[in-house]
Amino acid sequence: MLTAILLGFLFALFLVFTGKFFRGKLAVLSALIPAGLFAYFASFISKISAGEIITKTYEWVPAFGVNLSFKLDGLSLLFSLMITGIGFLVFSYTASYLKGHKYLDRFYGYLSVFMAAMLGLVLSNNIISLFVFWELTSISSFFLIGFNNDSAASRKSALTALGITGLGGFFLLSGVLLLGSMTGTYNITEMLSMQEAIAGSEYYILAASLFFVAAFTKSAQFPFHFWLPAAMKAPTPVSTYLHSATMVKAGVYLLMRFTPILGDHPFWNNTLIIVGGITMVYTAIHSLFRTDLKGILAYSTISALGILVFLIGLGTKAAFLAAAVFIMVHALYKATLFLVAGIIDHQAGTRDVTKLAGLRKVMMPVAIAGFLAAISSAGIPPTIGFLGKELTYEASLNFGTGTIIIVIAIVLTKIFLLWAGFAAGIKPFMGKLPEAQKETKMPGLLMWFPPIILAVLSILFGIFPSLIESAIVKPMVFALGADASEDHLALWHGFNTVLLLSAVTIGVGLLLYFLVRPSNKLEQKVAKLEFISPRSIMEKGNYYFVIFSRFWTNVFQNGYLRNYVTSIILFLVILVGYILFGHQRLVIDHSQLAEITAYELVVALILVAGVLYTVFTKSRLAAVAAMGVVGLSICLIFVFYSAPDLAMTQFSIDTLTVILFVLVLYRLPKYLSLSDYKMRLRDGVLSLALGTIICVLALQVLAEPANNEIGDFYAKNAYLLAHGKNVVNVILVDFRGTDTLIEISVLAIAAIGVFGLLKLRLKSTDRTQ
């Protein structure tokens, strides 16, 4: 199974080296990969429908409980079949759609990575690896949406999609980690038995909310839905694959996968019903105001995703059954409509539905596919769409609470979806072929065949629902935690309320279709309301966030060294000062300290005088000389307190520094006094505060007992191990010899730098800055 998942990644890697062979006619061969995978997963159907669950575990990071653990049950089987099946059709379609494209191989690479990531996502039985694959789908979809990278709009929508889904990924990671620490495992199967403990936990609401944000961003639920219509900038195969059948369903998949774990809780059900309900109605109505074929489809897709979320929220067996069927319904008809829209765009050169008509005369097979998909989307018998709609209505009617609102919402949604399906699937083919479209030609076989297959399947499964009933639908419902073995899918349910609702939906929908034509006027009207849409609110938020970031950066990264130093020291003074004066008892143990002798006092006074002179003198030369005095005084302190090596080093280095300074100094301008009195006072106070803190800190440390263990070790072994009697020297050249070697290299580098700076000859252009 690991091979099956990794195949896409491997193929993408393979394309990196052999890409140029796949740009031409061979491109269609890459469709063999999804085809093979489809066959592989299809071979499990009989096992899964018999109730078996296939799991495979490969160790990845076992120390953290992170494994590549895969589970094939009804739910993941349906998704795997959709991913590979529609993947196969999209791969073949692309070969013709992007024929001769410069980067066709690259496109296939992205597609394969995406397919593999998607497979990994739906098969993962470990929530950490699920998260990793989830992120991979976001990243690969970024490349796919932005495939036309020379168009600014395309780049922008890719970024929007990545931003929104990346945000969701962040929430998913938090949710995954929280759930992991709540249950003590990352394994989904093991979590299944802990449902009650999780629901009773005080973190339940938080964990569920995190999963919600992840799912809602990925599946474009209100108010995160706007990235999906924007993502329609992508080439149509991408829209078909990602935005109808697979990636946007990842959020739905996540909700389904966690329904047996987090579900059956009022918070879970109510949130999903409300968010799904708002999304499905809001975006279904929205599709009425679009004239771009893909725009209509995008909004109706979001609406369909809303229905799925809503059905998961209902949480009854009937709802799960409806969701299982509706996922297939939607994947079949929506992929068809997208492919058809792609063909129209490719052949007729426009996707503006107001300009398209009569295309059946030039591309009959495409018209048939569009028509079949449209009636499936409308839920007209004998399509599988009808079946899905009936089940949805049944689930809504039997929910129990708030039935009227729920039923009205779902019926309203279905009416608008019918309109959207007809506008996208039938409208472009009806009527008279306009003058501008006379030149339109029939597309190649590779292009029109995939939509036909999907459309025919819509009808086939509708007439013979037993084909999918026990093979796919029931195992899936079982995976969601309900047992549907007693139920049977059938087109005809007898005369009942559900049928009445269906009739109303179809009647009103058709009426709406004949009354309201897609037009630019409608689109412009709704554009006026754009400023209160979540999209513009979020964009405004982004805008102000950028301004705020700029302000923040300017405050902290303002380019003035002294401001950085000031803030660092201020924090240090406040934090250390708070601890020192707030919590410590300040003590000085005089009995432990050395006496002050007269010559020490003199040296100390000279040192302090030197420091003060360095700081306050107006002459630079005097400052450097005074600094030399400070260095030599320190040298004397080293002499007093048993550090002859330090004294020697300090003496020579101090002398060298002063000489170097003086050598350079006479070339510099007058000593600058740039700051005013106020600034000096402020800096002075800050410096004195730091000085005081350091002074008190030093005294406090002295009050603690010292630990000389390391020193003792060196002292004891200096002669015995290293045969040297000056312990400091032995440490430097023997015990820590490598450190000293590195130190010497640092000095050598500094020396090279100095030499380079001295010898560097500037061009005349560099001088005049």
Partner: protein, 117 residues
């Protein structure tokens, strides 16, 4: 003496930071040197100071027989002094060079990359 040293260290830190906060580049370097001296003395002090007992093993013995100053802080400071010399010399030459190119000693006039200026 420890108290006196602690005060000296405080003064060195204060003076060093004050000089670093100045706008003149030369003062910045002087500040760094003063701060470095303060830090060296701080390490020296915190390693506990001992009078008249350098960490040198007597001629006629292979181990210490009497009290000795802790050699570890001394080794650390020795390294620090040498490294800070590398830093100082490089900084001094850099200031000289920078002055030659941009004709200023004022840090505030150097805080933009040449594209913005």
């Amino acid at each position: 003496m420890e108290v006196l040293l602690a005060i000296i260290i405080g003064i060195l830190y204060a003076a060093g930071v004050y000089m670093i906060l100045r706008r003149s580049l030369v003062k910045l370097i002087i500040g760094i040197i003063l701060l470095g001296n303060g830090a060296n003395l701080l390490i020296f002090l915190l390693g506990r100071i001992t009078e008249g007992a350098p960490p040198i093993i007597p001629e006629d013995s292979s181990v210490f027989t009497e009290a000795y100053a802790d050699p570890v802080p001394q080794a650390l400071i020795l390294t620090a002094i040498v490294i800070s010399f590398g830093l100082q010399s490089f900084a001094i030459i850099l200031v000289k060079r920078a002055h030659k190119v941009v004709k200023t000693d004022d840090l505030d006039e150097m805080n933009a990359t040449d594209e913005d200026s």
